[in-house]
């Protein structure tokens, strides 16, 4: 997939670029309004990560430009502004999602993956990874053509891991993904542990490989053995 990262903060931009760069992904970056405008008008991307406050202009104007030109690129707004109005304005203008800084890269990745999935697999709602087969519409999971019953959290967890294949995902990121940042009780990671344990058990019992591995006590990694 092809991604454009429009973000003026160098540290953040580089981290995102590094996290997304892997086999099959192309990442481009823009650090200011002009650069961003020239890139979006010249090329097409699967997903554009758009910061609202940019040197030289406003990210919202870029979004407006994209929509005016019937550009079908997915747009995810990353902004420090966490107000409902900003969020609604962004989404009203046609952004696909809105993520508030600070965020975990794994969360960003999950969101971007979801956007691209929606954009590219038009009609098909199947997500297939080796022997795991997920019907995104029905939220049904099959392993080796055998349905397994997952709870809501386990299902969300599985999708999250699949979006971040091969990456170490921190417990904090998982907790925030599953419970939202409004819930600051997630410091207690025992919940996560039991959810992951259950998911893993269900997958293995259905004949799947053991993909989920604990990573040095601070996170988990979904990886092909």
């Amino acid at each position: 997939m092809k991604i454009l990262i429009i973000e003026d903060e160098k540290g953040l931009r580089e981290s995102i670029e590094e996290y997304f760069t892997e086999a099959g992904n192309i990442c481009e970056t823009a650090s200011n309004y002009q650069e961003a405008m020239s890139k979006v008008s010249l090329y097409s991307y699967d997903c554009i990560l758009l910061d609202i406050t940019l040197p030289g202009g406003n990210g919202i104007d870029i979004l407006k430009y994209l929509k005016k030109n019937n550009n079908t690129d997915g747009v995810l707004i990353i902004s420090a502004k966490n107000s409902l109005d900003d969020r609604l304005e962004g989404l009203d203008l046609g952004a696909d999602d809105y993520l508030v800084k600070p965020f975990h890269l794994s969360e960003l990745r999950a969101r971007v993956t979801a956007i691209i999935r929606r954009k590219t697999f038009n009609g098909s709602n199947l997500l297939i990874f080796n022997e795991i087969n997920i019907d995104l519409l029905a939220k049904a999971v099959k392993v080796n053509d055998q349905f397994i019953k997952l709870t809501r959290k386990e299902y969300a967890l599985l999708l999250y891991f699949l979006a971040n294949k091969g990456k170490v995902v921190s417990k904090n990121a998982i907790a925030e993904h599953l419970w939202g940042d409004g819930m600051d009780l997630a410091n207690n990671f025992d919940f996560i542990y039991s959810h992951i344990k259950n998911l893993r058990k269900k997958l293995i019992e259905a004949g799947s490989n053991d993909y989920i591995q604990a990573a040095y006590g601070m996170g988990y990694k979904f990886t092909s053995p």
Binding site: L12, Y19, N82, S83, H104, A215, Y216, G219
Partner: protein, 429 residues
Amino acid sequence: MKLLTRYNRVNLFTTVIVMLVTGIIYYQAISLILISQLEKDLVVEENEIFEYVSLNHHLPQVFKSNDQQITFTEAEPGSVKRGFINTIYHNYDNQKYAKRHHHRDDEEEFESGRGLITSVTVGSKYYKILIVVSTVEAEDLIKIIFGITAGVILLLFVTLFITNRLLLNRLWQPFYDLLRQLRFFNVTDNKDIPLEKTNIDEFEELNQAIIGMSTRVKSDYKELKSFTENASHELLTPIAVINSKLDTLIQTDSFSLQQSKLLSDLYSAVSKLTRLNQSLLLLVKIENRLLESNDHIDLKSHIEELLIQFEEIFLDKEIKVSSDLSEKELFTSTYLVDILLNNLLSNAIRHNYPGGEINIKLTSTSLVIQNTGALDELKQDQIFIRFHKSTESEGSGLGLTISRQICENLKFTLNYSYDRPYHTFTVGF
């Protein structure tokens, strides 16, 4: 002590003193005048006796009368010294005297009198003369005059008291108005202190000073708030960078147990920092009333949903939750109500112990959240203060401040009470 009371007290006290002093002087002056009048009468009588003696060469006939008595007694020549004396006047009431002649001595009425002792020589005999007049009438006069004076004083006293009261109350009205304004002064609301109409310069100045001060305070407060907002905002980007760098760091190679422990701690600290920052921003936004809307909220189902969300945590902490919810509709911001419920419930969980209880009761007038926890009562006046939290608390210390601010904005009340073993937070609609 009220100014009016104090003023009245001083005023009345001095008035009384002055009145008393003048009363005494007045009394003395009048009695002096009247006595000297009586003495003149006595001298006139004395002269009459002298004239009579020099004409007739014998003592005049003595008549007992009601207003004066004259007695002559023989005395050693030259032994009498002329002078006025205060003496007793024997009042012989004529009728009484006639009736009760046989014991007239007992019937004598003694009155105070003024006497003149003088002497006369008739032929070879030397007589002492005592002329006595009753001072009763004079005293009566004094009494009447004094009574009238006292009456006037009393009247003055009462009028003074009443006028002071009315006048001062009215005069001080602008002051009390200002005081009320000050009492309702709130740096967070946009209402300014109005200019009270008064033609008293002092109050006018006071009013101006207060208006000036409140404007300054408000602008300072606004600046402080925008500083908080800007600072929190500016912090977001570096926090985002730290977060993303941490996420990137853990992708690199393997870590020792010690390193991963350090990383975990870093993650926790950053997420705490994030939440703290978000709470600060939220608080500023709520205070600025940027989050107000008018949504229809079915509070009962809202709480039920929330309880489902928290279910795992209840299970994990072995907390027994009982709820008694009746229908309640609200028309206000869903966002704020969510935060409020979330905060209160999170607190009830966080400060609970394994195997504890949480009771939730929703009625049409209030929402009561009770939880077991520490066996000490919390300090009502401190728990709502920013960053006040128990030492073992993992929270930001802003939860209850935010809750209270939300309640204030939504015109709800938020109160804490402790009824062993339950800590109770009550939201009154």
